[in-house]
């Protein structure tokens, strides 16, 4: 009997093994991004922008030209790249600390200008790399190293929802929140990425895909439990779905 490979890992990726902790969903998300760029034939003309966070070394993993940006500034770096190299596919890969905290202005303004770039936004409700501090996305009651008694509304406010926030920025073209906690959702997440990169290829503007992600290490959980925790706690506060789609009208017409 012959065999046919139905899943070959490492598409759109270098041979480098990830440094991520066991069971960290950063890996799944990387795999999806690599796969989509490869399948769409975009990988060789892509420029990725790694941010500062656990995925800081993403520039070692994606098999395309890469920049490593200062903490929070990836959308500005991507703007610089895209403006001078409009034919390249430009994406950023950013954590929630990076994008929603220090880099909020850069993200909102890239959307505001309608930059034709794609942001991969990995929301794990915590600062992974620096050891588990509170992020703007940390849930109420969630313990972190800087919210030792759980995040309190009176002290730190309620968690920021990035897709919802950006949905009111005129320049954003497509915003979707996805999850990778099971194969079905992984498949859906891949579709979202395809849509985002297709929009970019069609020069239709700013796209952001938010991934609900885990941090088993700093959440202090086993990897499988982390997935369950994300489903039970994060998704209710961060509902999955499309938050904005400005291509719809065009499609219908």
């Amino acid at each position: 009997m012959n065999t046919k490979t139905v899943y070959r890992p490492q598409a759109g990726l270098t041979e480098r093994e990830y440094h991520y902790c066991p069971g960290c969903t950063h890996g799944i998300i990387h795999n999806l991004v690599g796969e989509v760029l490869k399948e769409r034939g975009l990988i060789e003309s892509s420029v990725g922008v790694a941010s500062v966070g656990c995925s800081v070394m993403a520039y070692e993993y994606f098999d395309c030209d890469m920049h490593q940006a200062a903490h929070g500034r990836a959308p500005a770096v991507a703007t610089g790249i895209k403006r001078v190299r409009p034919e390249s596919t430009v994406f950023t890969y950013q954590g929630d600390g990076d994008l929603a905290s220090i880099g909020l202005a850069e993200a909102v303004h890239a959307a505001h200008r309608g930059e034709n770039i794609t942001i991969i936004f990995v929301n794990n409700a915590i600062y992974g790399m620096t050891g588990g501090q509170m992020a703007p996305t940390t849930l109420l009651g969630q313990q972190t190293t800087t919210s030792p008694h759980g995040r309190e509304k009176a002290q730190a406010g309620e968690p920021l929802r990035v897709c919802e926030l950006l949905s009111n920025v005129p320049g954003a073209t497509y915003l979707e929140r996805v999850s990778v906690h099971d194969p079905k959702h992984v498949r859906k997440a891949k579709k979202a990425l395809q849509k985002a990169f297709d929009i970019q290829s069609g020069k239709q503007g700013f796209t952001l895909i938010e991934f609900i992600s885990t941090c088993p290490i700093n959440w202090g959980m086993e990897p499988k439990d982390s997935l369950d925790w994300a489903v039970e706690n994060m998704i209710p506060y961060y509902p999955l779905g499309v938050y904005k789609d400005m291509t719809k009208e065009d499609d219908d017409a």
Binding site: M66, H67, A76
Partner: protein, 355 residues
Amino acid sequence: MSKVLMKGNEAMALAAIKGGADAFFGYPITPQNELPEYLSHHMPANDRVFVQAESEVAAINMVYGAGGAGARVLTSSSSPGIALKQEGISYLAGSEIPCVIINVMRGGPGLGGIQPSQSDYNQITRGGGNGDYKVLSFAPENLQEAVDLIKESFPLADHYRNPVMVAVDGLLGQMMEPITLEETEKTQAAGKKEWAADGGYGERGYRNRIASLYLDPYKLEEHNLKLKGKYDEMREKEQRYEMIETEDADIVFVAYGTMARVARNAVQMLREEGVKVGMIRPISLFPFPKKAFEALPERTHSLITLEMSLGQMHQDVQIINNGRYKLDFFGRTGGVVPEPEEIVEHVRAALKEDA
């Protein structure tokens, strides 16, 4: 070539276009606004990129992206804006990305004022950012020199893969002076940059990465030593200065930019009184023009640093000096441009004291 009268900020903007700037990213701040304003019109008209960024921080990081993607990039700002760019400049140096930064200096600290100043010398030459890096930096004294240095800065930035800063005080940005710069002059163009991460992997056959991260301290040290090699090359090749009537000078001023212009008058006035004064005018701030001091005559016995600050370059004079000359300092700060008479008066008083 005939001369044209231009406002400093506009002349510098035009020089950047002629220098081959593919893109400009900046944020408004007085007293350099005419520069981005000019470019907002002329960059698109020349099929180049103009983006008004949301902040100085965003602007310098756009520079990082565009520069890392191989374009010739310009940004401009003024003192507090430059302070905000320091992390970004440190990243640019660390990732070896060429770019040109124009700094039209104003008085500080903090919001300070908007009048001309030279109190950014420290943040220009010492880096305001973290790490052992340097920014090649020039300080012209008039618009022609500014224009020429800016045009030259783009290829220099490319050569060293390092930021180059051209620093003028607000007066140079705001003044009008005739310059020679043909509108029709062909613009320089950067060659293809083989290291640029621009999406050209397919063609190129290998992957490019732009990063300043080295988790292994030994690798980071190696990287720093490589950078140092470039700075040493700058020290060797890029020291620029002008020696003004130093051949027979007993006393030598050290001054740059507008202060040097004011001091030129003071030199004349003092010479008319029989005081043999000369001047070293640093044109490069980093590298500091050590060679100029080596070229002073035996008879020189004193150096007087003149600055529109409370004495920042003076530290470099002290270092160079190493005990050789009697040192003195005169400065005005906060946006005050001194008059030549004040310098003359200062020298007279010093001579009286010595006598």
